[in-house]
Subunit: 508 residues, 2 copies
């Protein structure tokens, strides 16, 4: 009994970069018990090692045709391992909170932390496959989604996760036999729904679409394993062994090969860049400021209460040298918003729950619902600013972050977010003046610390990092706005005006 | 302009235990600016001190009649303080994740962490008041809810929070004038909805119900302040001052008066208690075990798939001495459940996000939705076991925990949860045997640590704590089941059988 033709195109283990294992049912009851015994003990040991060595999270994607034994296999894994450190997510209709956020939010919120195993029964693959079968998704749109999935999984792996994907397979006849058998047994009859039978009628389409999806997403970082669903014992041992092998490989101490990094960043020859090109002399008189501030705050207040804003959201990121005026600018923005519908997220050191997740997790958790705003005071760009400069992450990590960040923002924009990033630029002299001023005013003194003075010594390096960041992440859908911030009046009005203009365009 | 009669019964500042401040609008524009300036600087300093001294969370409840300036005042607080450390929650129709959990879950999830200020615009008061006005809640049911609210707020304060409640008031005529004024201004017209006007028609009922609610919930721990909503300047300064005073009082270093503690626990004269009364000799042969296990697992599998279970949920807590067999028992339970619909929560040291919240927060966050189960391997009872014994919390803290825990479980049960707590009892000799066995089996060695040996030395103290715990928290709706666990077969079957019996009763 071989795999159907649609699955023939999947690269085999001959291809060095792609691991695909296939084999046929071999195990019978007599050997099964013995094999199970040792596998179980080893899996338990590996699971403990995962937790104690503080390995990354392990993510198992479980997909396949109805009746091929997905839930039985998950149940077996729970029996074999310590279920306290396993979690399983199923995805059906998204709930309100999920529906009003980008597609990937529901998966991000359920990612297991370091040391744990998360099983996704139904995953980011389910909806693209179902929609393509129903012809609600064009071939091209599917390709785009698969490309996004590949980048997402690669990012997880680069962030330290072990990602394994299993496709549980049955022949058309095998599936019918299996569903009938499940229906007959009162203990399993509930598993077979009308939808299960309905889906058997699109078996060929499923094979066609899934075959393609598996080929395109069978990457070195996150390979697929096809599991023959016919035989219960075989299936369990097969999945268990692959998981065990992968855990052993993952936990052994040989360093992971360095991710290939982007070519070195080139400094422009004439020192002309997005920051030096700014006209830093721009100012606004107090009288003009009051008028303009009222005008744009009024407009912003109207825009966020426009009925179309319910189909959008607003994500603002503020970055800049210390004392550039981020806090003050943010206050002028929030003055126009309803406190019940926005949230300011100040980014400092991550909590331990955040450290146990992929880098972007701590930002995903604050992604606003439709009709709401989140304002980040410092942001995910810390990765390519402070973390790059202070060496908190490897060069490969911050270099890949540019693309990961672009992907993240793209997901937000796809869902209707207006994403704007403000770089507040001040001169070095102006910073010194503000530091001194802060030290002299009692209720501002807390704002200035030793660290600010240390960072100031790295002025040029920060400027270069900011230029690289803006060059690589200012996109049409999520632009950077460099703000001339020597004059606070000018900066605040420019920021408000920019937000209004972008919001207005989005709401039309 | 005084307060209407319905508010006359509220105790005044003459009553030592209750702070209620009232005063009339005094401030005019000429003095307002000067007063505002200094108040603002002081609030900012107090807010910083709150963060840096790692004070507890500050919880502001904002309620009152429509148009009395609730949102304007919140906006002013955002202007005066650092908005990055403020958050505001509004509650309208609960979403589906909230609807499928106990009423208080939506508030628990939004509680601010230590050092932050959380504003609840609409709160745990809104629904009881609205339902009582609509006569959907009997007088008695309201009383019960208010009693629960008082206990909830007292718990927050005992856990270190500062809780302030503001009622924004207007006379009937004042309200109409104010709503008309808001409607006229295009910048505020959106605030006045059809519901605002509809609610003016039940002004008397509101005053009647709210007056009563305020009287009953105006506690020493969490006092109400009535704010006259007529004058914008007065209102803002009034609220700002009260907040500032409260913060100063809260942040000064004088120790809080010790909470009055319950009378000392009495040991029974004959040493007979719920644990010594157990018949520890009970066993089950392997053959009988296999049969019984299959029977009860089968029944449990059916019960959780019963359509009525969608209106219920299952919350199980497992406690017991080390090596009592909690993990093994849990696995026999979960074997009957669908991994997509249950979660096991192993309780170890809290994360830093959990430490920044009231004690029960880390358990509330795992409360299951309807139709699902959460199994706690160790639980909130750590407070009255390990924390009591190791001195991780003060005596007053673990003594009040008994009642807090009863309240918590009562909330779960009210919402349809079946809550069962299992104490797995083994003999001291049996523990020793199991410790040694674990040390000799490679894949079980990780389960035995130095700490287990240390805890063993405190055997008698743990037993006494367990007896006190069972005595004080075994309630009709959330019973403790003491399990004779020297024989694992016997224990596992007893647990499964008990769960089935309770579930069956609930589903009828």
């Amino acid at each position: 009994m071989g795999f159907p033709d649609a699955f023939a195109g999947i690269p085999t283990s001959g291809d060095k970069h792609v691991r695909v294992r296939r084999s046929r049912p071999r195990y019978r009851q007599k050997t099964f018990r013995r094999e199970e015994e040792s596998l179980r003990a080893e899996l338990l040991l590996a699971q403990t090692a995962l937790r104690e060595k503080a390995g990354g999270p392990v993510i198992l994607v479980v997909s396949g045709v109805d009746g091929a034994g997905k839930s039985e296999t998950i149940a077996t894994l729970y029996e074999w391992m310590d279920p306290r450190f396993l979690s399983t997510q199923a995805y059906s209709t998204p709930n309100d909170e999920e529906r009003e956020r980008p597609f990937m939010w529901r998966f991000w919120r359920a990612l297991p932390p370091k040391g744990r195993i998360g099983i996704f029964s139904g995953s980011w693959y389910s909806i693209p496959i179902a929609r393509r079968i129903a012809r609600k998704l064009s071939r091209n749109a599917l390709e785009t989604q698969l490309e996004q999935i590949n980048r997402f999984e690669e990012m997880l792996v680069n962030e330290g996760a072990l990602v394994l994907k299993f496709w549980f397979h049955l022949t058309r006849e095998g599936q019918k036999t299996r569903l009938k058998k499940l229906e007959k047994d009162p203990r399993t009859a509930w598993r077979v729904t009308r939808e299960s039978w309905a889906r058997t009628r699109t078996y060929d389409e499923l094979l066609d679409v899934a075959g393609h999806v598996l080929r395109v997403t069978n990457t070195a970082a996150a390979p697929w394993t096809i599991v023959d669903g016919t035989d219960d014992n075989y299936r369990s041992l097969h999945v268990g062994r692959i998981l065990l092998d992968a855990l052993h490989h993952y936990l052994d101490d040989t360093p992971r090969p360095a991710t290939s990094v982007a070519p070195p960043l080139v400094t422009s020859l004439d020192q002309r860049n997005v920051i030096t090109a700014l006209d830093m002399g721009q100012t606004l008189t107090d009288r003009k400021y009051e008028l303009e501030l009222a005008k744009w705050q009024g407009q912003l207040a109207e825009l966020v209460r426009h009925k179309n804003f319910r189909k959008h959201s607003l994500v603002l990121a503020f970055e800049g040298m210390d004392a550039a005026g981020k806090g003050g600018a943010i206050r002028r923005v929030t003055a126009a918003l309803d406190p019940r519908r926005f949230q300011i997220v100040p980014i400092a050191a991550p909590s331990d729950e955040e450290r146990a997740q992929a880098y972007l997790w701590r930002f995903w958790r604050h992604v606003p619902r439709l009709g709401r705003a989140t304002i980040f005071d410092r942001s995910w760009y810390g990765r390519v600013l402070v973390e790059r400069i202070e060496g908190f992450c490897a060069e490969a990590d911050w270099l890949r972050a540019y693309a990961e960040i672009n992907d993240f923002e793209h997901e937000l924009v796809q869902d209707g977010s207006v994403v704007l990033k403000f770089w507040l630029q001040i001169d070095k002299d102006e910073q010194l003046r503000r530091f001194k001023e802060r030290e002299s005013i009692e209720h501002k003194r807390f704002k200035i610390t030793e660290e600010d003075w240390r960072n100031r010594k790295k002025w040029d390096i920060y400027q270069q990092a900011a230029v690289d960041m803006i060059d690589r992440t200012s996109t049409g859908h999520a632009p950077w706005i460099a703000v001339e911030a020597n004059d606070k009046n000018f900066a605040r009005v420019k920021i408000l005006k920019t937000i209004c203009q972008h919001l207005e365009r989005a709401l039309k």
